[in-house]
Symmetry: C2
Subunit: 280 residues, 2 copies
């Protein structure tokens, strides 16, 4: 596997890189960002995968979260992939909706045409990308964690729960915890997977908490209580109930006055990086 | 004077606000951002003015510099204005160049038509905006500092040097230190002020260091040595020479491997905030 560096900026003593590569899982050229901390010059470092939310690319987190400072201090790499396949020939929502198609891959493997031609973000994030990163950078694939925001929080929870050997720590900001029970999720799951709701459960964190063999040792979730999407889409109480039923220790922090923006993420990103570093 | 809040996000316990107001100096509606730290809930706080570079709006610094964390810790407000007048009827470079007209006000009062109708960023930053801020937020106008990047570093140095009673601390990232001696500056100064080079000196930091009555007690400048604009446009050695001649203590830090981007600014913004807080 080969990647091409398209941008490089020194940042907090490390390197913020942007690269492109041919993805076999997604059947298109993908762009991705990685922060490589200075410690990687001398030894392999732990690596975190950040999954972004609806409409984002690989750049939002890199520019707005302010994570590089702590990543450089802790000696952790952070990979920020795009949120869907891209490019010529990749199907998009016919009406250009922000919550389906381009920028809205929902971290699953689509089964419905035309989406099943490219939309296999689950395979990309859970296997192809970590393999590419491990073969291209000084990261220790045995010490990997996963986190994300909103749709990306959904991705982090579901991919993390199903791949405990790949991802040893999981956290999320304002995640979609039960896509089978909210409008964003129902639209995405029916569109990508079809109408058989049984198939949807494989991509629902609250469902997976009951069914996965290996439960996570800990989960950290931050949620702003002034988030416009809190009641209709995010429903963190469902995650609390599922974790309680599964015996999974969840630290769910309802942050007063915070909304769904990157200003919220930036305010608490340090806690998440330390949470992952402690487990890795 | 009245301002209208158009966006508000909680961030590090404070408030990141964006507002619009009618500017009499610029004769148009302006948008501006301010971070109000939590300490402003109980007492007036020091305030810093950040001047951005070419092509920027009030948003770049707010989203990319990661300054709110330290501002919240230190209890400092940060105002981030736009970089030029905007809107219907505001003249722009006829070819849409990035380095003249909209997004490139150069923090001066234009004398040449049509620019003299709106391009009076010097008056806006040195008087109208500080007065508006002081009357609208819990800031102590007696404890104000100014800093900026590139064209905004030029603005911070020149406005700070000429208004020591308004701005008691000055710093810059990769500033244009001598616009009378570089292509960006020659284009802007001739366009906005005409061909009489004598008039240009009022907006050249190296010239002002010799002529101003009250010299600054200290200057902090960071400059990346991998900055593409270093040799042709920025020329920090001219600032060093001017400070030496004027007896002004300059801390000029050439940062190895850093470029002209916000990744560079984010890496050292904490040092600048502490530099200002110490003097205020």
């Amino acid at each position: 596997m080969i990647l091409e560096i398209v941008a490089e900026n020194k940042c907090f003593g490390g390197r913020q890189l942007q690269f492109t590569h041919e993805s076999s899982a997604l059947n298109c050229t993908m762009r991705c960002s990685i922060f490589v901390p200075p410690q990687a010059d001398t030894s392999k470092v732990p690596v975190l995968y950040w999954l972004s939310g609806l409409t984002c690319t690989d750049e939002n987190f890199v520019q707005k979260a302010g994570a590089q400072r702590i990543a450089a201090e802790l000696g952790v790499a952070i990979v920020a992939p795009d949120t869907s396949p891209r490019g010529e020939g990749v199907a998009d929502d016919p009406e250009g909706a922000y919550d389906f198609g381009l920028g809205a891959g929902f971290y699953l493997n689509a089964t419905q045409p035309p989406w099943n031609q490219h939309y296999r973000m689950y395979d990309y994030i859970s296997a192809e990308l970590p393999d590419l990163i491990a073969s291209s950078f000084a990261v220790d694939a045995e010490r990997a964690g996963i986190f994300g925001h909103s749709m990306g929080g959904h991705g982090a929870l579901t991919i993390g729960l199903k791949n405990p050997q790949r991802f040893k720590s999981i956290s999320a900001f304002a995640p979609i915890v039960a896509p089978t029970q909210c409008p964003w999720g129902e639209k995405a799951l029916s569109g990508y997977l079809g109408d058989d709701r049984e198939r949807w459960n494989a991509y629902d964190a609250c469902e997976l908490l009951q069914s996965v063999q290996q439960k996570p040792a800990a989960l950290l979730v931050d949620q702003g209580d002034a988030d416009n999407f809190l009641v209709e889409q995010l429903k963190p109480e469902l995650l609390q109930q599922a974790c309680d039923a599964a015996g999974v220790p969840l630290t769910l922090r309802l942050q007063p006055g915070y909304d769904h923006s990157y200003f919220f993420i930036a305010s608490f990103i340090e806690d998440h990086l330390r949470f992952h570093a402690d487990q890795l």
